[in-house]
């Protein structure tokens, strides 16, 4: 059996601060980039910590053999990872998990991202290009990231800020509702805080649109072996059980998730 997941120290070929405490890194890791899919994640080791940190893949460049990740400094682990300089080395394991299921390119998609849930949507949005609407929300103008990237990918961008300092004032769910009232996409994809995902899932159900959401949970192995990253899911018959974010997800059909 050929390996499909790799771990090693890879070079950070580009590192930029995108906003306060938000960094992007482009990492040269051809083996991983070759197999990576939109919505999958990599598991990053911060030198002083025991557990790896899961970070979604934001962009995949198979030709160059690079992955792009975007992450926010939330605690000590991400703070340490943020200290790796451009040209330095990062310990990654990936690609991991199940990504978003992409329909044929002619189909219409809405991608919804909130805050640091925006970056994982870029690769998916790019797949649909002009047929994608990206509804992306941030706390305020200073926290806005990747807007141009979504535009370059050809998507229609619907930018929201909680405080109205940029784009539409309000939550992405309101913007989504407005969109859905006008047109019915083939699929909705979402990543962001639990309460946002719950709202998106409810709207998708209301308007009868298939919806996939990307979940987060604290992780150990990242590969499905330790069963710590449990999230409650339900079968069509309503029976609930624990699935695992790293193996069965991070992307789930919204209707399977017990919010």
């Amino acid at each position: 059996m050929e390996p499909t997941v790799f771990q090693g120290r890879y070079q950070v070929v580009k590192k930029t601060a995108l906003a306060k405490e938000i960094y992007e890194m482009v990492i040269l890791c051809p083996q991983i980039a070759q197999l990576a899919q939109a919505g999958q994640f990599v598991h990053v080791k911060a030198p002083s910590f025991t557990l790896r940190r899961p970070i979604s893949i934001c962009e995949i460049d198979r030709a160059k053999g690079t992955l792009r990740i975007v992450f926010e400094v939330r605690g000590d682990g991400t703070a340490e990872i943020a200290q790796i300089p451009q040209g330095g080395w990062i310990d990654l394991m990936g690609p991991l998990g199940h990504g978003f299921q992409l329909l044929e390119q002619g189909k219409k998609a809405i991608v919804v991202g909130g805050g640091i849930g925006v970056p994982p949507m870029l690769e998916t949005a790019a797949h649909y290009g002009e047929n994608a609407v990206a509804i992306i929300g941030f706390r305020s103008a200073s926290a806005v990231i990747l807007e141009e990237d979504f535009q370059k990918a050809g998507c229609t961008v619907d930018l929201c800020t909680d405080d109205g300092t940029r784009g539409r004032k309000g939550f992405v769910t309101e913007a989504l509702k407005a969109r859905l009232q006008q047109e019915k996409p083939d699929i909705i994809y979402a990543c962001g805080p639990m309460v946002m995902l719950k709202g998106v899932a409810a709207l998708a159900k209301e308007y009868g649109v298939r919806c996939q959401v990307s979940l987060e949970e604290r992780m150990g192995c990242g590969i499905g072996a330790c069963l710590v990253c449990a999230c409650k899911t339900k079968k069509p018959d309503g029976e609930e059980s624990y699935s695992h974010v790293c193996k069965n997800g991070p992307v789930f059909e919204a209707e399977e998730v017990v919010f």
Binding site: T50, C221, A225, C226, L227, A230
Partner: protein
């Protein structure tokens, strides 16, 4: 090229490195990275007779050089294991150890009886899981409790029986003696140490189960001490685990008295650890001119 193979209770392991239960699923996940045959054996995810959902998340918390888990024995139950999991992992050139848990002596017996007719090579009795309310650890923390479950299980067990001990006890060597007296063929230790972390922002325990089992490098010195104490008191082989991450640790654990070792938490941050450990051991043995890894077992010379 030193001889790395070891024999435990009549079962041959090509090397003394075993995946620890609960850290290697049912042996298939890490096949995305390397074949299971890199391990001398694998101890499968802890199993109960009936399916169990385990504890609510979060189930993991980080600690200095370690981690806490509160999985709580999530598993599909023995029938689903036999039907769907075991067939996928037999014949892959590694010793299969079923890790068996229960809430009552009857549970344990029913499970072990069922496993005794299967293709697993050995059974590891988990009387030490700190993450389930009833049974489990309760048996493991007293000589009588441990003895009673081993006595009952021994009668129905047709496979070599390893008993896995809890470190959350005052006198682990006496418990080891008690289970040896009841017919344990081998003893493995340590399971996790009960710990707790609190999120000071929310003033809530990080684990939804409040407490969880600590493992990883932090516990290594405790594991070495306990293996040393136990190996000096029992005649059956001892399998040492708890915090092993490097080949040096594996050697140290074997010198303390372990005939084989298991790796758990280290897999999460260093997935190739088993490969590095086997290679590292091998070249160390060569450098030392030791021809057979078994020669180092229990060779620590106390002062």
């Amino acid at each position: 090229m030193a001889k790395l193979s070891v024999e435990l209770c009549g079962v041959e392991f090509k090397n003394p490195v075993i995946a620890a239960s609960g850290c290697f699923g049912f042996g298939r996940e890490y096949e995305k990275m390397y074949p299971v045959s890199v391990f001398g054996g694998i101890s499968l995810k802890g199993m109960t007779y009936e399916e169990r959902q385990g504890n609510p998340p979060p189930r993991i918390a980080e600690t200095p050089s370690g981690m806490l888990n509160s999985v709580g024995l999530q598993n599909p139950g023995v029938e689903a294991f036999l039907a769907h999991e075991l067939p996928q992992i037999v014949g892959k050139d590694t010793v299969l150890i079923a890790n068996a848990a229960g809430s009552t002596v009857e549970d344990y017996c029913a499970l072990v009886e069922r496993l005794s007719d299967s293709a697993v090579d050995m059974i590891e009795l988990n009387i030490s899981c700190p993450n389930v309310k009833h049974g489990g650890a309760a048996f493991g923390v007293s000589c009588e409790g441990a003895a009673s479950v081993v006595r009952a299980v021994r009668r129905v067990c047709k496979k070599p029986l390893i008993v896995k001990l809890s470190p959350n006890v005052t006198d682990i060597a006496s418990i080891a003696e008690a289970v040896e007296a009841e017919g344990a063929d081998a003893i493995s230790l340590i399971n996790t140490l009960l710990g707790m972390r609190i999120d000071i922002k929310s003033r809530r325990p990080i684990l939804r189960n409040n407490v969880g089992g600590m493992s990883g490098p932090a516990v290594f010195p405790i594991a070495v001490r306990m293996v040393w104490q136990v190996a000096n008191r029992v005649k059956v082989p001892v399998i040492g685990l708890g915090g092993i991450e490097k080949w040096q640790d594996a050697i140290e654990m074997m010198m303390a008295g372990a005939s084989a070792i298991q790796i758990g938490a280290a897999l999460f941050y260093d997935p190739y650890a088993p490969i590095k450990i086997v290679e590292g051991m091998n070249s160390w043995l060569d450098r030392q001119g030791v021809k057979d890894v078994r020669e180092i077992v229990g060779t620590v010379q106390p002062w």
